[in-house]
């Protein structure tokens, strides 16, 4: 199931939090060989985790992490601006209605439906909070996964080659995409509303237009 949790709220779910940081170590340090910081507990963490970001996490039946991503608004400090400004190709996208999505992580062995559920959650955030776009940093493998689940970002710029390639891209919100994303994630609209409402205390407005 999906949980939307700020870093502060995640503290109440130590099992979920710790397994997320371990899965991030496995993905970003061990598999992708990124130069990330891993602490003595084996948790991959960076400075943005300390900025009370919003996480969307797929929780497994045993309470551990199945996949996740992390959001911060581009009106504040973001990874794209701090570390990959050249990938924006002369753009400097900043708005409280455009959020940055980083550390998209899938636990080893988690099914394709997890990626689909996370993409659904990204769309739900855009719909709920009237966002115009999400700005993402991702690796080459993620591009294939995004394509597969029908959420292809528009790549603004890339660096590196082959599997080391890192890209910055944009997703824009289109209300008509929701049904297709729900179908691919094999999640009903009601269930998605329920998960959202459990995290935020209120469901998303079900009407299509504002």
């Amino acid at each position: 199931m999906l949980r939307y949790l700020t870093a502060e709220a995640l503290a109440a779910y130590p099992r979920l939090r710790d397994s997320m940081h371990r899965d991030r170590t496995a993905q970003f340090r061990d598999r992708l060989k990124w130069a990330v910081t891993v602490d003595a507990d084996g948790f991959e963490r960076d400075e943005y985790d300390a900025m009370n970001p919003l996480y969307v996490i797929w929780e497994m039946p045993d309470g551990t992490h199945g996949g996740s991503m992390r959001f911060l608004p581009t009106s504040g400090r973001t990874m794209v601006h701090d570390h990959f400004p050249q990938l924006l190709n002369g753009a400097d996208v900043r708005s409280d209605r455009i959020w940055e999505c980083t550390r998209f992580c899938i636990a080893q062995g988690a099914g394709a439906h997890v990626a689909g559920a996370l993409m659904l959650a990204g769309g739900e955030l855009m719909r709920a909070f009237a966002l115009t776009h999400l700005l993402g940093v991702f690796d080459a493998r993620m591009v294939r996964i995004y394509n597969m689940i029908g959420a292809t970002p528009e790549v603004l710029g890339s660096t590196g080659e082959g599997r080391d390639k890192i890209s910055v891209g944009l997703w824009h919100y289109r209300s008509q995409d929701r049904q297709a994303v729900l179908r691919r994630a094999r999640i009903s609209s009601d269930l998605s509303e329920y998960w959202f409402s459990r995290s935020f205390g209120h469901p998303i407005n079900r009407r299509i237009a504002a």
Binding site: D96, F200, H202
Partner: protein, 260 residues
């Protein structure tokens, strides 16, 4: 809210050029939504406060006198978040917070609330709040049906506050990126979004992100407003200067044959 009503409100807000007009619009919106209160609250880094809305002025004064800003879980909670929050989700566990809540309810604020944190250019912070005295179920229904509208209204009100209270803004407008300058310049010259995206060799959706970013940095209400402001601030130049500029301006009839 019906779409038309929202559009009407936003367009009237766009035209407003005095605080009294905005206050009037907010009262009208409050009546329209049939809730107790709508409030906009801008808190500067130095703790200075500015705002407007329907709270009892006595409560506003009391809030300042009691220095409630320091313990108000709504302000503290919104400062840590960037997404809207139902007051029930905030931390009311401290004695001070519970005392504050009791006092607020006694002053007619209501037992329910929904607040939208707003981050403006250069770290500006404000919040937009609706509050009401009702049960949980009625409130959940209300926030469900209006939250998207409330978020849009919050952002537009903040742009308006930035415009009216320029002196309060933390710093001058943030520099536009080259891509944003290109986009606004071509729009100012009268090209459509489709044409501009073609000229810049980007998709229309990416162009929209650049425009949204420029709008945010300029503290503008919409694209037209952003273009007007960029022109006024001298951030983009069109007309004679643009025509005289060297380079391949789109739409320009380059006298290639004549040149050869």
């Amino acid at each position: 809210m019906k779409r038309l009503k929202l559009d009407q409100f936003l367009s009237k807000l766009g035209e407003a050029d005095a605080l009294e007009q905005i206050q009037g619009l907010i009262v009208g919106l409050r009546n329209e939504l049939r809730i107790d209160h709508i409030v906009y609250h801008w808190v500067s880094a130095d703790g200075e406060q500015y705002g407007f809305g329907t709270y009892d002025p006595q409560w506003v004064q009391h809030y300042v006198d009691q220095e409630y800003l320091r313990i108000d879980p709504v302000v503290l909670g919104c400062f840590q978040r960037f997404h809207p929050v139902d007051w029930k989700r905030l931390d009311w566990s401290s004695r001070a917070a519970r005392g504050f809540q009791k006092d607020a309810i006694a002053h007619g604020v209501g037992n329910q609330g929904f607040s939208v944190p707003i981050r403006g250019p250069n770290g500006q912070f404000a919040l937009f709040t609706v509050s009401h005295a009702t049960d949980d179920e009625t409130w959940a229904e209300f926030t469900q049906s209006t939250q998207r509208d409330l978020i849009l209204i919050a952002h537009f009100l903040n742009q308006k506050a930035l415009e009216l209270e320029k002196g309060r803004a933390p710093e001058p407008v943030r520099a536009l990126s080259p891509r944003e300058i290109d986009a606004l310049t071509f729009l100012a010259m009268g090209y459509s979004r489709g044409q501009v995206s073609e000229m810049l060799s980007i998709s229309e959706h990416t162009l929209r992100a650049y425009i949204e970013s420029a709008r945010f940095k300029l503290g503008a209400l919409n694209t037209t407003h952003a273009v007007a402001r960029a022109l006024a601030e001298g951030l983009i130049i069109i007309g004679g200067a643009a025509r005289a500029a060297t380079g391949n301006w789109p739409g320009r009839k380059v006298p290639r044959a004549a040149a050869n």
